[in-house]
Subunit: 376 residues, 4 copies
């Protein structure tokens, strides 16, 4: 995430010259050696091992750490009048998320949640179609996020598998994106979620910690056999979740995510059916949108790379595709513009949005625990 | 359905000469005029307006009527020692389905439920891969069946929208297929469904009955505006359902169907993830199977039309695709062979299978009504 | 081919009751034993080992033999006033094709060339779009037909590899279909071919004849290793061809076919670009047509299975796909209707059409031999 | 092109820290005002309106201008011992290209032709498969490059339509990429091109020059109607080309490109068939490669974003796609490393490679003019 945001900031002057000028001032981390290397590579002038030291020095604070260190620094920054962009999900618990939302409400500086998929041109184009009524009344939404990095039971334990540090597993890590994207796209049409049913499942209950300290982040497990297992540690989060939701308007939705979908690396899809049309999006083909409008007999595979498409005029000619990282450039552009102008666009994901997602994640967990539908 | 089965029977001699010889003896229906025409076209020697009259005359009984006339004739036939092939879902209520299952258990003739999608070559090929362990331990199943023939709120009312006659809507009509297909493919690996959560939704509560008596079966609604609406009648079944399931093995599943997916005509898909591989099937491309095996880096798009593929050697050379109707030919072949030999293959869907599907449909409805997970 | 046509005839009464009644009278072949079995299976009342004996007995003559036995019987039939449907390509040589065309012109009964792909609903739908001007001025056509049954150099020799019997290889067997389909779709718009450049290539010059007499028709070569090679025989036709063409209108085309495209079984595709739109068709997904119309931003994947689509109302509801064999049913329907009514529809492929295709195949061969563009 | 290379250079330090340090020294252009703006935006310290002035100041020279200004400055730079990276095609005429090649041969500094598609990870992965023999003997290659920016006959005239400035049209602009990519992928296996047949076509012979001076580069023609036409100027290059080629090994190839393929923006595809396998690549889905290996039954859709894939470890985790611009980063990395180490990797496109492509383009043109196959 640090690399993705540092890169985004570095690219703004050439492609978004109307973004405010940026100085990459202080990089915060735990390990001083690694920090110095990273600062040099990512173009930061200073480093700090305590975020408190950095807060006084900067005009904007990016909180890109693990979920359990989102709340305290973000709240402190906001209380100090420093705008914050925080990675998702907002916090491991709903209480912390509420505190963050409240801090944001009390502050008069922007507080953003980094739901970067809102900034995919194809998603913006989709939102425009829905707002313009091209799909008619929205009836159904379907979202899923498939990865496979935990399919090997001997893939190493990592902080993302620990409830205290991560809050939840696939639910918070992947589901948060899907839930936010669905709200972003159809929330204005279908209202909030009225009630939902959730299901969490952990397929592998404990995982090895290896002597070489591989964090398991990459999940490839290639050299698992060569390594000594130091211990097995409990997996206390979900490997997969699913949810059924009823919206206020009567529309319905189904959502799921998993880290066990063999062969799927980063397959985030969202589909919407309305009374006049339908659309489908897949992150692994993020330059495309499948659109079916009134009168169409099949989905059009639209390459969303025309000059007139959102953000595209900043980049390359039609047909010259962009990648995952560009979503961060757009996100940083919008956030830093909001910081400099004081105006946060409606479409920018705030702490309030982050909290609402968290609330839904919490309701999914509660539904799973209680074995029943939960009202929101 | 009558046309599909009559066609299947007519094609057996040329392509499945090892099937028993068939005489299309008596066609049963209500309207004598229409019946005579249909009998001629579909090659039946006799007609009857009361199924009781036909039962004494025939060696095999096909029950292809609406759901609410499945139970009585099927049970009578079985009690008379006449083998029965009955369309799905088995019955509008679980009690009727149980009575049918019991009658089948008491009879010593085959009683089949017409889950024709079990007979798609690509599905058989998929089942073989799973049985051979090519996908490893099955972790997740995902099925959905999307149609759009009710998306227009003025599409005419039909018996399929009435709870008494149809039992349920998308759930029984479409969901029954998906539930059975999932059981067929992975049931041996993941065991039965342990518990589930269901959701039914009716988007349009009442629909017009038109003066011209259009049954609305085709759902095209083209000439809706020209027709006088006689009355509005209640829609008492679901337009869409979804379900989350937990299998005995710890595997999970998500299912859904809808008649409101604008742009989707008959889009039945099923996806399976195992510890070693994954697969995807779509009915609209029924000659293909997407398969990812251990060591593969992506799904192979397999055209399941090789000589060595199930049933394919009976038809055409590799690459010469077959259609939806061929599933009925295969189904009739297997059923009539079972009748003549007395041996029902494990893979053939029986009344017992039909009952189990019904039980799951019932649990989905119960879960929706009670707002909680239901154990099976 | 015999099986495909016999099946087509058998299916007409149920699905095309307005077709004339058909008696499968006499089946002609060389081997009396095999002939009797085939006649029984395919529903023929009589057999004959000399086509001359059959001619007096029948009202219609189907010539489905190898290319080198197309001319004589077809001409004899036409001279006897018997309508003929002949498989493609019309003849191994242009002279023979010309004689057949002349015989057809002199007769007053229908003489059809069995270009069955004209009868795919998606192709008919495509033709309608082009005729209606939906694609604007046609600029470019692209056709290719990919198979892989000869990729193994030890795949057995067969008559299709012999210039005397087959005329040409991939060119006549596959290219004839593509050339005819292109003419059918855009001929009215772009005129005839003005000039062309052709290329033929034989990758494997000789192939084994095996002791067990496998004709190599299936090309699977599975048990090659177990068999004794009796001799190697020359391959005197092309394994692959390509062509560049200039149409009278100024439009251009590129065509190719091969029996060496590893992984492609029967992959016949055709693509058309016009000033307003484009379309793409693939035989392996023959229920679909990719269409891009004026104002569209991408190709629509149209499932050509609606009631309003050509021939589809005879079959099944929307979304219920048909197969390769259905093209033969449509072809037989149109041909036999033409025989009974005396009116041959403009869209039906005649001997004249077959001759014109042959002329183009000949020009491709001549261009290859002379190393230069050839005018037509 | 300037933007693409400036961006590439700017990104090297963060992602390719082993690239030599780069100073963006002098930007050369004609219009002083535009130049100053561009220099600021793209991070250049100096500007010059005469390339001669820049040559003395720089260590490396990038020639990104129109084709007709490629030769003189590139040769001058090489004679001055300055490494050159020149955009493709190398020159409008074969003579100029030969002079450039000779200058490069005489110099002892790297001279690169900017065939950036060689640097797509999926293409590198494909090349590796071919080198490793995974496809067996290469039999056939198929390349095409489809765009549609000239489909409107009133799209404005631009320098790319002038033979003197551009040399050729779709042939040089698009075909050069395809020809080079084919050589890059299979050249070692199939040898050079033995002989070929070419076809050039200009669909629209003259085009308007508008009063507002729109260069027509973007080809959108949105506001055509509002603009006064000053004059019509001749289009003296091809709108589309095609070629058939015979390789030394006996393999064959077909190539084409067009600016008239309605609906296609930047659709560059290449397909290869070998005796054991096949592959397909499409630039609009540049993160993917379709691969069919021995034993596979269908193409695998491989997402070439794994850590082990070429260049990917420098970027993002598996499944996080990159875009068109990344090919320039890789190209600049390799070129600048070659400059600093003095070692030019075999895979880097040199002036020699550029010349060979030019020779093929020339032969295609000659073949078209002479109406016959041309030997190389």
């Amino acid at each position: 995430m640090g690399k993705a945001h540092a890169n985004a900031m570095a690219r703004l002057p050439m492609f978004f010259p109307d973004a405010p000028p940026i100085e990459r001032h202080t990089l915060v981390g735990r390990d001083e050696g690694a920090l110095a290397d990273a600062a040099e590579r990512f173009g930061f002038a200073h480093t700090a091992t305590d975020w408190r030291d950095a807060l006084d020095e900067v005009d904007v604070f990016y909180n890109l750490g693990p979920n359990h260190v989102h709340a305290e620094p973000s709240i402190a920054a906001l209380e100090a009048g420093v705008p914050v962009l925080c990675e998702k999900p907002l916090a491991p618990t709903l209480d912390e998320a509420a505190a963050m939302r409240d801090a944001a409400a009390a502050a008069d500086v922007p507080a953003g949640t980094a739901f970067n998929y809102r900034f995919v041109p194809a998603i913006r184009y989709a939102k425009g179609l829905i707002e313009d009524g091209e799909l008619g009344d929205i009836r159904q939404v379907r979202g899923r996020y498939l990865q496979d990095w935990l399919v090997d039971p001997e893939a190493p334990w990592a902080w993302r598998m620990d409830a205290d540090m991560a809050g939840s597993g696939a639910l918070g890590d992947l589901g948060a994106h899907t839930i936010d994207l669905a709200s972003f796209l159809v929330g204005d049409e279908v209202g909030g979620i009225d009630r939902l049913s959730g299901h969490l499942e952990t397929f592998v209950d404990e995982r090895p910690v290896y002597a070489d300290g591989d964090s398991g982040e990459d999940g490839d497990g290639d050299d698992v056999d060569d390594r000594a297992v130091e211990e097995y540690r409990d997996v206390t989060v979900d490997d997969a979740y699913s949810a059924q939701v009823a919206y206020e308007s009567g529309a319905t939705g189904t959502f799921e995510a998993t880290r066990f979908a063999t062969g799927h690396k980063n397959d985030h899809t969202i589909e919407v059916h309305g009374s006049k049309g339908s659309l489908k999006f897949s992150l692994e083909r993020l330059n495309e949108l499948e659109v079916l409008r009134e009168g169409d007999r099949g989905y059009q595979t639209v390459l969303v790379t025309d000059e007139t498409d959102p953000y595209v005029d900043r980049w390359w000619p039609p047909g010259h595709v962009i990648g995952w990282e560009h979503t961060f450039v757009h996100e940083n552009y919008e956030f830093l513009r909001a910081v400099s102008t004081g105006n946060v666009p409606d479409t920018f994901p705030t702490f309030e949005d982050g909290y609402e997602v968290q609330q839904i994640l919490g309701a999914i967990t509660e539904s799973d625990e209680r074995g029943r539908w939960v009202d929101l």
